[in-house]
Symmetry: C2
Subunit: 417 residues, 2 copies
């Protein structure tokens, strides 16, 4: 968990502002949920491994007897801090469905908490920026998510981002074609998900070391080694078919092709899309197209998502289609060039100690009335480092105020840099 | 704890944006701290009654033996959710002092949590907007806080706000003059703080029912009943002296008079200030001037604050002067008229189901390129209620998209209201 000092806080708020503005422009609406959810809901099996990382909030007013009666830590908590924004969204939608549009496009930009072991680049509190479309079963939803996300990444100045696409249904079709048994799919996918980290040999070795159908593992290894498997063609039917075993589900293939055409129509080209036959995404709840945002300047993904049609039904009792995309805000904010606000001047009024307070505040009011930022700063003995410090803080100009300064017209503004 | 739906979330973000913008213009810098602090720090005696309302976060990895060994609930927690923004600020300042300006003007706009019993108008998660000036011992700090706060309230469209001012040192001087013993001051102040709620008789009755110096209680009651005690004059020395027992501390009186003159200089008049000899403010850590923001449309205060010179020293080991003002965001947001964004049009593209997706996204891209907000909406059987719903959602115009629509030039936009 981190403190954010003024410069970093400003940078974060600017990036959040750009994301909010772009997603809203694309027709999404921002919502907010409380940071605590019922502990039972957080541990309902929808959060995968993240459930284990949830911070629990102690029940209020526990007596000593109640503490002694607890069989496990979870008996002592009734609330917990959310570990993602998807479980709260599902609960939110189930609570407020009647007040929301038939197709609901949600923005959530908010912190989540996970009890990670302290390590570089992992935080126990971090911000996620999610968009989700609930109520739309077709790939129009995926197309809107991808177009809005790419526009947002553009607005942040990160050109050259690409989106890797796959589909859970194609993954299971691939596993079937290679000879895996259905009960093995989940665990095999978890291993394939490590391909980027451990390579082809690592995946094959891990599968062999477990009790997975040996012929299927051999077939997978052979499949990996086909020259065309990892040769990425321009997104389209040829690329998808070439990367997969023969006879993939034609309906799924044509959906992905249509998705690519739609994104291309909005973007003037599909070159930002890549079909990745081994993209898995960690969460078990995905049911259809899945995606990941990558950028040449970062060795890790900057976000991802996918369709999770079954999940909201768990809260509501009736099936509701849903798909979402989550931007990794903490990773993005480090890549984005500082966004400079050039519309207002930031003025330091560096004053002698003996200038009357009423006059100082009157001068500040005059400078503010011109639409600028203004801070009163008592003049230090040594002004050189003081002025340098103000420049570092982002002030663009200064003026000395002495007991002879009567009004803002008599101030002499000088640039700081 | 509440969910915020799109309209309310938008309103909250707009109000937060205005507050942030005004406070920044006045030279303050925004910071952020994690929502969890060490439990020991939260229970160090600086939070008054709010400490008891802190949510505790269960220690991770507790064994059954450790649970059985707990003597009280606090033994089970190591972190807690902050109940205010002042304790975290003191900890932040102690951690980062070397990286901050000599006089540090902080903005914090963030949620806090208190385990309140559910009742109307009380929330367990709510947002506070605090500004604090650390490192400035003189009333320039108070003057800046009040000027920035009044400018912010103006920008929110709440004209006619006033600020009640008192000083902890004048309060204790008053109690001494009336004959209370020094050890009684804290408890007597807690009772006087209820004056608005229980009236003069209620305060006198409560003091009599306890073991407080009887002559002093009688003197207080007589003092209350002086015609001039509650007759508020234009802010200044005469008003302050008239409202107090004879011979108040002349240095404190002249500080408050200078504060009023300084605020008046920046605002073109002191009529927004009122001296309130019975303003107490709940927290025991205040040491100097204290203030409260009131508005004719609300029966409760909209914020308040004061000087708390001793507090940061508790974390740092050396004395650091500090004063702060906290806006009650949840109360403010209800009073503020919806702030309308008139700079961008919000367009609904109401399309037939058979329009190809690629064309829809291309049309949306064209409308977005004009700087507008655009949402794709599938046309309902009955368009009248659908269009009414879009107007309620804030869309300002719509166009029907049919399979004959080829580009944005062929769209016919019509207003929604």
């Amino acid at each position: 968990m981190r403190d954010f000092l003024p410069a970093e806080k400003k940078r974060r708020e600017r990036v959040l502002g750009v994301i909010r503005e772009r997603y809203q422009a694309h027709g999404f609406d921002e919502i907010e949920t409380p940071v605590m959810e019922d502990s039972e809901r957080l541990h309902a099996g929808l959060g995968g491994d993240n459930e284990k990382l949830a911070f629990g909030v102690l029940k209020r007013g526990l007596t000593h007897e109640e503490i002694l009666a607890a069989e496990e830590p979870l008996d002592l908590v009734d609330l917990g801090l959310r570990f993602d924004l998807t479980v709260p969204l599902a609960r939110f939608y189930a609570s407020h469905r009647a007040e929301l549009p038939t197709v609901f496009r949600a923005i959530q930009m908010a912190p989540v908490w996970r009890a990670e072991r302290p390590q570089k680049g992992r935080f126990r509190q971090f911000v996620q920026c999610d968009i989700d479309i609930i109520g739309e079963p077709g790939i129009q939803a995926e197309a809107e998510l991808l177009v809005a996300t790419l526009a947002t990444v553009d607005a942040l100045g990160l050109a050259d981002a690409t989106i890797r696409i796959n589909d859970r249904r194609l993954l299971t079709g691939m596993l079937a074609a290679l000879g895996f048994e259905e009960y093995e799919y989940d665990s095999v996918l978890i291993t394939i998900d490590k391909l980027d980290k451990v390579g082809i040999d690592g995946v094959a070795a891990e599968l062999r070391s477990r009790e997975v159908t040996p012929d299927a593992v051999a077939a997978l290894e052979e499949f990996f080694l086909r020259p065309q498997t990892l040769e990425w063609l321009p997104f389209g039917e040829a690329a998808i078919r070439k990367a997969l075993p023969p006879d993939p589900d034609p309906e799924v293939v044509s959906e992905l092709v249509a998705l690519g055409e739609a994104v291309g129509a909005a973007r003037g080209g599909t070159e930002v899309l890549v079909f990745d036959p081994f993209l898995v995404r960690g969460m078990g709840y995905y049911t259809g197209p899945i995606f990941e945002l990558v950028h040449p300047s970062a060795p890790y993904s900057l976000g991802g998502g996918g369709r999770y049609d079954g999940m909201i039904g768990r809260f509501l009792g009736s099936e509701v289609p849903a798909t979402g995309f989550s931007l990794g805000f903490e990773r993005l904010v480090d890549l984005v060039e500082p966004l400079v606000d050039e519309t207002t001047a930031s003025v330091a009024l560096v004053h002698d100690a003996e200038v009357p307070l009423a006059r100082l505040l009157g001068l500040q009011a005059e400078v503010l009335a011109g639409g600028n930022r203004a801070r009163l700063v008592r003049r230090a003995k040594n002004t050189k480092p003081q002025l340098e410090g103000l420049a570092v803080e982002g002030f663009t100009s200064f003026a000395f105020v002495t007991s002879e300064t009567t009004d803002a017209d008599s101030l002499e503004f000088r640039p700081l840099d």
